[in-house]
Symmetry: C2
Subunit: 234 residues, 2 copies
Amino acid sequence: MKRYRSPVLCKTCIEEASDIFKSIFRPDLNIYDYLEWCKSYKRGEAIYHESNKPTGVYCVTKGVVKLSKVGVEGKEQIIRLAKVGDMIGYRSLLSNEPICTTAKALEETHLCFIPKDNFIYLLNNDNRFCFDMLQMACAQLRDSNAFMTDIAQKNVKERVAEILLYLTDEFGLDKEQFLNISLTREDLANMVGTATESVIRILGELKDEKILLTKGRKMAVLDEKGLRKVAGIY
Amino acid sequence: MKRYRSPVLCKTCIEEASDIFKSIFRPDLNIYDYLEWCKSYKRGEAIYHESNKPTGVYCVTKGVVKLSKVGVEGKEQIIRLAKVGDMIGYRSLLSNEPICTTAKALEETHLCFIPKDNFIYLLNNDNRFCFDMLQMACAQLRDSNAFMTDIAQKNVKERVAEILLYLTDEFGLDKEQFLNISLTREDLANMVGTATESVIRILGELKDEKILLTKGRKMAVLDEKGLRKVAGIY
DNA sequence: CGGTACGTTGAGTCATATCAACCATAGTGG
DNA sequence: CCACTATGGTTGATATGACTCAACGTACCG
């Protein structure tokens, strides 16, 4: 849990991810003035917890963050995965309420922190920044609504297939054609809203159908078209 | 399908609902300059359809609008209900994509229309307006995420109970203690993501448990505490 | 007065959760 | 280095919530 207070390091962080942050962190904005620190998180490490008060927002410059809510009887529901170029923690801050999700690093992750006051200042004084944030929030709203419809109407197999497509899209494949993200079966289950055992069985079916290949936690999509068909997306 | 092109009528519309639009339609903004028209919609009338291109945003000054998506095999999923003071159509407009929901009036509804260019102009030139929109989008994102978790984890009875609480909260009760909104059983089913028959059975159970009272389409919550318990909210 | 949309009920089926047992792997401390 | 423990993965058996289908009742509307 190293803390970089040096603005130079923050600058490096952002610059490494600059093409992704293109709309929000523009060259003329001088975002470095507003960052308080950048920090490295280990796999599994918590970033913030449900019911804490938001103190600012975090920008992901490396790694992947899992955002989840605790539902019935402590069961976790994964709301979204945030990757390089994403901002987290802004939603509850802007709704003026306690944080109602939990954020955890899924792998080694670097975050830059913008304290609340700076963030609000930026929003109130840089119209372009505010507008970009609004567009981002709208895009997430779209995803959330679409996903809600899927959970409500599709069966588990369709949802698992859809999540695999989403992961392919979002995180891409490594040189061996494996998905560039490592999730436990339980994480997968908590994304699609089902039981771990169900996910395992579905993955088994997809393997039998030669659509998927797994090697421990690594997964490769062999037949994207087939997967699309299973997911009910044409 | 009457069209009022008169700005005076728009003004009346807005002023009647002014306390609700307080943040977005402030006195100093002179929103009337940006409205193109206000229009009255009959119960059941469509406002816009999936896959149309967004041409602007609509402000509800009277009535209730049902926003839904079409899911698997044509089954409707209700995303949210918009009432007086709400804005609809802004999400797809800001994500730069075809409309992906359908909007229908649930009762006699008045809408004021802000054309796309005016809306974007406002966002880009009135920082306060943009910030308020951002806050609104964030609040909806919170609701959407919370609802996603519920659909994924709660059973049908819990979800029905929760929707009834939500409706009480959102639309209030009339003088006879009946919910101030009229939904078909199918609409209820499409909100909680279940079958119409299931909703009917659950409502029957709640009546047996003296928690609910129904009279045709009218519903009265007799025991809010009991309902809360059923919904799993404490 | 017939039609259309909505509401209700019962019976049968199936998808999925739950429970329980067991295996695999990796990290830890003695 | 090995036993120990924790965590995650897998499989089978069983239970059941909720969907589907079908039939029928009800009410409003032109």
